[in-house]
Amino acid sequence: MATNTETTDAPLSPENAAVIQLTRKDFVSDQDPRWCPGCGDYSILAQTQKAMPDFGYPRENIVFISGIGCSGRLPYYMNTYGFHSIHGRATTLATGLKAARPDLMVWVITGDGDALSIGGNHLIHSMRRNVDVTVVMFNNRIYGLTKGQVSPTSEFGKRTKSTPFGSIDHPIAPLTVALAAEASFVARSVDTHTEHLQATLAAAGHHKGSTFVEVLQNCNIFNDGAYREFTERDVREDRMLVLEDGQPMVFGKERDKGIRLNGLHPEVVQLGGGITEDDLLVHDQHAEDPYLALMLSRMWWPEFPVPVGVLRAVERPTHDQLMTDQIVEARAREGEGDLATALGSGDTWTVE
């Protein structure tokens, strides 16, 4: 018989990490990754494996579910339970799995096409329900596995195999979508910024609720240099804004620039000449209302530095918890269900 979820051990916690004592290597499977050499996915895989031991879950209690696309391969390389599902539907499987098995830690690995095009509907609904799943979306702004067509995050006017005259579709803003869909944790990082990525994945994994992490990822074959102009080592400090909770929004190699609110709009200001850090916006990832996070989700180079880090992290009851609560309450109110009573409910009569 299958294990009844209520009799399994209570969910494990970070405190167990010290007890379980796993290392990155424990999360490396026996399968060799098959991404193109130089692909940003290698880095995301490595940082994911590195982040794992800290969560305190034994390997068998972790499940990676993916959809279709280059990102979809990741579960094969994780020495955990894994399910490589179908295009766009990973969040649907994750929702069912988490509902049936609240004790598991569930990750969804997806891409910009998988999550926002074919799987857009499922993504937004998993977020509004606050399904306790960590969604990591590899955003390379291209369809890589199918060899180079526009994706929902591709730039307007982009020339690809399917848009030789330029894309006529306006790109979608993934983090704005996540916030609008009520994800309780929304963050962004970059494949090549390994420390930041690992820290972001660690924060994401610790969050309870619907977690969405956009990883800006380079596809060196079909969309090389997608984010080069602001992610390269020599320019990134001036062109990206690393969000830190409770800190003023300062950026720049010299830490001499900041974000200030001007009316309803953010603006980039030069510190000095009467402008101090006190004039800048202070990041508050736990803010009850989503306005600050929404504003940050709309900022993009070259008008603004590109924000990375945690935009929003708020607590609300998770889908599986609410589902379980209703069962507990019903049992407290009506008692444990009795099959014979259910079968014989309503008007009955007896034939002798």
Binding site: M1, A2, T3, N4, T5, E6, T8, Q31, R59, E60, N61, V63, I65, S66, I68, P75, Y76, N79, Y81, G82, F83, H84, S85, I86, R89, T91, T92, L93, T95, G96, L97, A99, A100, R101, D103, L104, N121, H122, H125, M323, Q326, I327, A330, R331, R333, E334, G335, G337, L339, A340, A342, L343, G344, S345, G346, D347, T348, W349, T350, V351
Partner: protein, 617 residues
């Protein structure tokens, strides 16, 4: 009621009566019909019902598309259908009369709400003259009852508006019909109290209307006779009335309980399957988890996810939803996980006839997926059987690690019959051992008998593995593009499902083991076919009936049964899908008899076709 006995009116004894209540979709005809059904069933009659309602929730009042109907047949003997033709038609307005009178045989009784036959309503029903006065109804017994007026009088002094009072008029109608058929008002009065107890004025209006209708029958001289249908001699036991959808919901609950598994039901609202979601949503105290997904695909995905996690994963839908689930169903085939998909079929293609019945999803169930993608297909034959086959579908899904398609239809799902409540101890024990031993575990090793792969649940130490939609290597389960492996795995999946034939009962024949004509059916046509065959056999014809509950795979003796009759015909509410399968599989000239009118077969349809085939032979 004691008063009626004192008056001793003329009583005519009947074996069976079929009544159709028809009115505007806002007239409460479904409620009227189901209340009569409860009362007749509780009295001990065998009952069969068929609600027939429009897809529009409220089409314009009084219009032809807005007519809603509920037909029920009750009998002192065993019956299989809600009757071919009504004996009595209750028409609450001209539109209801116009759309239903065609089904009433000459001599049949029509009870109309004469108040509703206004020039305006006649116009909405496209009547050029009033049928109550122009002689067009002269071949029927017409009873004109000013229901609105009488009902309004009964509600006097309650302080309700005329619109509120009008809402209770169906209880007046019900009261009148109760008098005609000697039925007690008590069950309905109790029901009114339970249902409307919080609104005592409404409860009082409804109770008064019910009593007023009854009293009208008793005291006017309009109805000379009332009718007696004695209790049926059903097998001993405790009974309740049940629809196919109710029985399915209970069956899956029972299956999960018997298997010791959590039931997870994911569904997207769709007619006529939504009632299963509604019912299972109420079973929280059983630990049942229900999930109204954002769409059909999500419901399928969530069921697969739950089953991967060790629950009994279930999803329910109708034809258009099954089409959307196809790709994910293929994933369940590839990953060999136990999920059950309920398809309560309706008229198609596309949105089709959402509230009407049809059997045209059989080939979709069999083949509606990419690649070689075999799935066991089951189809209960009666509302009560929906319970048994929910357990059977779950048993097969778990034992063989496979998705299973469970086909009913709008007629079974919404139709009701008395159901003998089973003893929980008699229910089959079902289930599947999960894998636990890392030393022997291989994701795609197989049980030598069933060919099922192991069920390895996340959370089991040492069994970490990866599955998915890509082809997997035999035994090891790693991704494999090897040509020979794909061929072998395709054959294994096919053999696994085909092998279930050794684990299901033989096809049963009702009638002689050989003869002139065999009528084969599946699903909801059972009642009409069985009734027709009973009549044909009584008339000395060499006719037998065999009904498939297992369609993929077919029972082992199918070939032998089919070859024992000179002619085989398959009546179906489609253009010949079972006959197509049987012809393809057994190379036999199985004839089709096909009607797609959104309605079930009449007994006479099948009887006449059988007579025609017997003459032809």
């Amino acid at each position: 009621m004691s008063e009626t006995q004192q008056l001793e009116p003329e009583v005519t004894e009947l074996e069976r009566v079929t009544i159709r209540f028809a009115g505007d979709s806002g007239d409460g005809m479904q409620l009227t019909g189901s209340q009569f059904t409860r009362t007749a069933a509780a009295f001990g009659n065998d009952v069969s019902t068929f609600p027939d309602f429009p897809a529009e929730i409220r089409a314009p009042a009084g219009s032809l598309p807005g007519v809603s109907g509920f037909q029920l047949s009750f009998s002192s003997s065993d019956i299989h259908t809600p009757g071919d033709q009504p004996d009595v038609l209750v028409a609450m307005n001209p539109a209801a009369l116009k759309t239903n009178i065609v089904d009433l045989p000459p001599g049949g009784a029509v009870i109309v709400n004469s108040d509703a036959f206004t020039p305006q309503n006649l116009g909405k029903a496209a009547y050029e003259s009033n049928p109550l006065t122009d002689g067009s109804l002269k071949s029927y017994k017409v009873f004109e009852v000013p229901m609105t007026t009488l009902n309004t009088a009964s509600a006097e002094g309650l302080g309700l508006t005329s619109k509120q009072i009008d809402l209770s008029k169906n209880f007046f109608t019900l009261g009148l019909v109760f008098w005609l058929y000697e039925r007690s008002l008590e069950p309905t009065l109790l029901w009114i109290e339970e249902k409307f107890g919080a609104r005592p004025v409404v409860a009082e209006a409804n109770a008064r209307a019910l009593r007023a209708g009854y009293a009208f029958g008793e005291t006017t001289e309009m109805f000379h006779t009332h009718y007696r249908v004695r209790p049926a001699r059903l097998a001993p036991g405790t009974y309740r009335n049940i629809t196919g959808n109710e029985a399915a919901a209970l069956g899956f609950l029972a299956a999960a309980q018997r298997a010791g598994l959590e039931l997870f039901y994911a569904s997207y609202p769709i007619t006529p399957a939504s009632d299963i979601l509604h019912q299972l949503s109420g079973y929280k105290r059983f630990g049942v988890k229900t999930y109204q997904a954002e769409d059909e695909i999500a419901a399928m995905g969530a069921a697969i996810g739950a089953s991967y996690g060790g629950a009994l994963g279930l999803t329910g839908t109708s034809g258009p939803g099954l089409a959307l689930k196809s790709e994910a169903l293929g994933l369940a085939v590839m990953t060999e996980l136990p999920v059950v998909v309920v398809d309560v079929q309706r008229g198609g293609p596309s949105t089709g006839l959402p509230t009407k019945t049809e059997q045209a999803d059989l080939l979709q169930a069999m083949f509606g997926r990419n690649g070689e993608s075999p799935i066991p297909v089951l189809a209960p034959a009666t509302p009560g059987e929906c319970f048994d086959y929910a357990i059977e579908a779950s048993r097969i899904a778990l034992k063989y690690m496979t998705p299973v398609l469970y086909l009913t239809d709008g007629y079974l799902g919404n139709g009701a019959e008395p159901w003998r409540i089973p003893d929980v101890a008699d229910l089959a024990g079902i289930g599947k051992e999960t894998a636990t031993d890392p030393a022997t575990f291989r994701p795609y090793s197989r049980d030598p008998e069933t060919l099922a792969r192991p069920w390895a649940l996340p959370g089991t130490p040492g069994l970490e593995h990866r599955i998915g939609g890509l082809e997997k290597a035999d035994v090891s389960g790693v991704v494999s593009y090897d040509p020979d492996n794909h061929h072998r795995m395709t054959l294994l999946r096919d053999r696994k499902v085909a092998g279930i034939a050794d684990d299901i009962p033989d096809l049963e024949v009702y009638g002689a083991a050989e003869g002139d004509l065999l009528i084969v059916g599946w699903g909801s046509t059972y009642g009409a076919i069985r009734s027709a065959v009973e009549r044909l056999q009584a008339a000395g014809r060499s006719v037998a009936h065999a009904h498939f509950r297992h369609i993929n795979p077919f029972p082992r003796n199918t070939d032998a049964v089919l070859r024992s009759y000179r002619t085989v015909v398959a009546p179906e509410l489609n253009l010949g899908q079972l006959s197509w399968l049987l012809r393809a599989r057994y190379l036999l000239d199985v004839r089709g008899f096909n009607l797609v009118r959104g309605k079930p077969f009449k007994i006479s349809d099948i009887e006449e076709e059988a007579e025609r085939l017997l003459l032809e032979a």
